[in-house]
Amino acid sequence: MPNMALNKVKMPEQEPDIRNKNFKEVTLGYEDAMAIEEAQRCLNCKTKPCIAGCPVNVKIPEFIQLVADGKFEEAYYKIKETNSLPAVCGRVCPQETQCEQLCVRGKKGEPVAIGRLERFVADWYMKNGKNTETKPKSNGIKVAVVGSGPSGLTCAGDLAKLGYEVTLFEAFHVPGGVLMYGIPEFRLPKALVQKEIQTVKALGVDIQTNMVIGKVLTIEDLKNEGYKAVFIGSGAGLPSFMSIPGENLNGVYSANEFLTRINLMSAYKFPDTDTPVFVGKSVAVVGGGNVAMDAARSAKRLGAENVYIIYRRSETELPARIEEVHHAKEEGIILKLLTNPKQILGTEAGWVKGIECVSMELGEPDKSGRRRPVEKKGSEHIIDIETVIMSIGQSPNPLIAATTPGLDVQSWGGIIVEEETGATSKSGVYAGGDAVTGAATVILAMGAGKKAAEAIDKLLS
C-alpha cells in the first residue's frame, strides 16, 4: 500500500535566524527513514508523466521504487543512467515546474518530493557508495567541449561514456561554471559540485582549466588540433546593467561580480582569502529572479542589516522559484515590489549612498502575458543604501562568437542552433545551455548538452 499522506515528508533545514548568518547549506536532506516514507508516496502509476517533465528523462518511478525498497545504491545507478549530476539537480532543479508539476499525487495534495529523493540518493552514494565509474574503451575520436558548466559537463560525460576522447576547456581556474561561481554555497556546497565533477573525470574526460577559448585557442584552432566536433557551452556570462545614472559608483555590483567574489573566490572568508567584497549596512538588489534571491541572501549573510529586493512587478510575477522567495523572506529579506530604480545617488567621494525609486502599478498585459508595470506619477522616493547589486539578467558572452567566423548568433548574442540537435551554422560545431537560450536553468542546460552529445555521436559514428 502506498503512503497516502497528502503532504511531502518535511526536509529538515537550518532555522532562518541561524542560517542567515552562515554559509552552510540551508536544507539538510532526508534521513534514510524519511526517504523511504516519502518514496512510498509514489503510486508507481502507469502513465509516469513525471519522466516527460524531466529534461534529461530520469527514470523517476524506477529510482523511487528502489528507494522505497531501501536499495539506495541501485537507485543511484538508475538516476545516473540519464543524469550525470544528481546531487546538483536534486538541489537546484525547479521540480515544481517540471517532474513534480506532472505528478499524479499533485492533483490532490502535494506531489511526490522527487527532487528531495534525488538529492537523498546522490548524497547517500557520496557518503556510502564506491566510485565505480571507469574510463570506457576509447574509440580514438577527439571531441572538444567548451565550458564546464551544466551543459558542458553533461555533454562531456555522455560522450565519454560512448568512448570519445573528450577534452573539456574551462576559462576559470576550477571547473563547474555557474555551479561554482553563481549558485551560493548555502544552496549548493562547492565541495559537492567538485565531487560530482570527479565522477565525470573518472569517465576519462580531460578537464583543462585556465583556457579561455576564443582567446588562447579559437574554435578553428581546436578543429585544426584534431577535434572532430566541438560543443560550446560557454554560458551567459555578460551581465546587464540598467543604464541609469550612478551605476558606476563604488558599491554597485553586477550580481555576477558579487556572487563570483563570494562563491568562486570565497570572499566571505576574507581576510583568510585574498578577494574582498564590499557590503554596506543596507543593500538593494535590483531584480526578482533566483540570482537576485541568491545575491540578497548572500548580502544578509555578510552582515547587511537591511537587504531589499527591488522589483518592478508584483510578487506573483517574481521569476524566482517560490521556495527561494520563501527562504529569502524567512531570512529577513525585504521585498520592495512594484518599485523601479530611477538613479543611484552617490557621495562626493563616489560611493553609493542611496537609490531613487518610483512606485509602479500593473497595467495591461504585455507580450510575455504579464501585466506591464507603469510608473505612478509623483511617487519618487529614496532608499538609503550603500551597496547595489544589479541582478536584471545576463546574456551570452560574446568572446567565442566574435572569434568564430560563420557562427550565427541572435541580435542579443545567443548562438543559433537547430533545436533537436544543438547543431550551429558551422559544421561540426554544436552549442547548448545559456550560451544559446540566455540565462535559464541548470537542468535545461543539461538537457541541451545531452541532446548535443547524441547528435555528435550520430555525426561521428
Binding site: G251, P271, P398
Partner: protein, 281 residues
C-alpha cells in the same frame, strides 16, 4: 601549473618574471594581459604582458610590489610554479599605419609601454619614448627601450638622473620643437595618463591609454572593470585595455580604483605580520 623560468629584480619594488605558458606565448600581442593566481586562497590579479617569446613558449610579466599578491609573488623564485596563469586577455593594440609615435611610460607603465614601442619600431614607425620615474634608482628597461626607439628621454621627478621633469613637460617640449606625432601612447598611473591626455587634447593628437582597473575573470563576465568612455560604459577587460584617452572619464576611474583600498591594506598587513614584519611593533 606554470613554471617561473626567469626572475630578475629590476628595482627595489619592480620584478620581472618569465613564465612558461606556451599556449599564451603563441597568441599574445602587445596591449593584452594575463590573470594569475598563486595560491588556493589567492586573488586573481591582472598583469599586462610585457613581452613574449613564441619559440621558447614564455610570457614576461613585470610587476610592482603593491599588494599582498605581488609581494608574495616576489618571494617566489625560478623553478617555482604559479597555480593559475590565463590569457591572453583583452584586445590587442592597433599599432599599424602610424608614422611617428610618442610612447610614454610612467613608472611601472614603462613595462607595459615597452611591447608597444617594440612593435611600433618593428613596424617601421619613428618612435620617441619618454619614460618618467620618481628617482634614478627606479629606472627600468632603459636598454630595452633604447633598442625599441629612435629617441629615448628618461626624466626623473627629483632630477637624480640629471634630467629633472615630468613626462608631460618633455612631451610638450618635443611637440613644440616641431615633432609631428600622429599618435601618443601613454601608460602609467591614472594621474599621469590624465595629464598627458589633457595636454594632447590641446594639440589635437590622437592618444591611447592602457587602463588597468580591478577585475576578476577578465572575460567580460563580472563587469567590475567598467569605465565610462565617451559617455558609455565599457569593460576594460574585453573592450580594452586600450582606450582613446580623450574619451576616458579619468576621475571616475580614479574613484573606482580606490574601491578596496581598506581591504587591500588589511590583506597586506596580515601578510607582513605572518612574515614576522614589524607593523604592530
Amino acid at each position: 601549473m606554470f613554471k617561473i623560468v626567469k626572475k630578475e629584480v629590476l628595482n627595489p619594488t619592480v620584478v620581472l618574471m618569465d613564465i612558461e605558458a606556451p599556449h599564451i606565448a603563441r597568441k599574445a600581442e602587445p596591449g593584452q594581459f594575463i590573470i594569475l593566481r598563486i595560491s588556493e586562497t589567492g586573488e586573481r590579479i591582472p598583469l599586462t604582458v610585457a613581452d613574449y617569446d613564441r619559440d621558447k613558449g614564455t610570457v614576461t610579466i613585470i610587476y610592482q610590489l603593491v599588494g599582498k599578491t605581488t609581494n608574495a609573488l616576489a618571494e617566489m623564485n625560478e623553478g617555482d610554479y604559479l597555480l593559475d596563469f590565463v590569457g591572453p586577455l583583452g584586445t590587442a593594440s592597433h599599432l599599424e599605419g602610424y608614422k611617428k609615435v610618442a610612447v610614454i611610460g610612467g613608472g611601472l607603465g614603462t613595462a607595459i609601454a615597452y611591447p608597444q614601442a617594440k612593435k611600433l619600431h618593428a613596424l617601421g614607425a619613428e618612435v620617441h619614448v619618454i619614460n618618467g620615474f620618481r628617482n634614478k634608482d627606479l629606472i627600468i628597461l632603459e636598454k630595452e627601450m633604447e633598442k625599441a626607439s629612435d629617441k629615448l628621454i628618461v626624466a626623473t621627478d627629483d632630477g637624480s638622473n640629471g634630467n629633472k621633469g615630468f613626462v608631460t613637460n618633455v612631451l610638450k617640449q618635443l611637440i613644440d620643437e616641431g615633432n609631428k606625432y600622429d599618435l601618443v601612447i601613454a601608460i602609467g598611473p591614472l594621474v599621469m595618463m590624465r595629464a598627458v591626455s589633457n595636454l594632447t587634447k590641446e594639440y589635437g593628437i590622437k592618444t591611447l591609454v592602457s587602463m588597468n582597473p580591478v577585475m576578476i575573470d577578465g572575460t567580460g563576465m563580472c563587469g567590475g572593470c567598467r569605465l565610462t568612455v565617451g559617455g558609455k560604459t565599457k569593460f576594460a577587460c574585453v573592450d580594452g585595455p586600450d582606450f582613446d584617452a580623450h574619451e576616458v572619464d579619468f576621475d571616475e576611474a580614479m574613484r573606482r580604483q580606490g574601491m578596496y583600498k581598506k581591504q587591500e591594506k588589511e590583506s597586506v598587513d596580515i601578510h607582513v605580520c605572518k612574515l614576522g614584519g614589524v607593523t604592530n611593533a
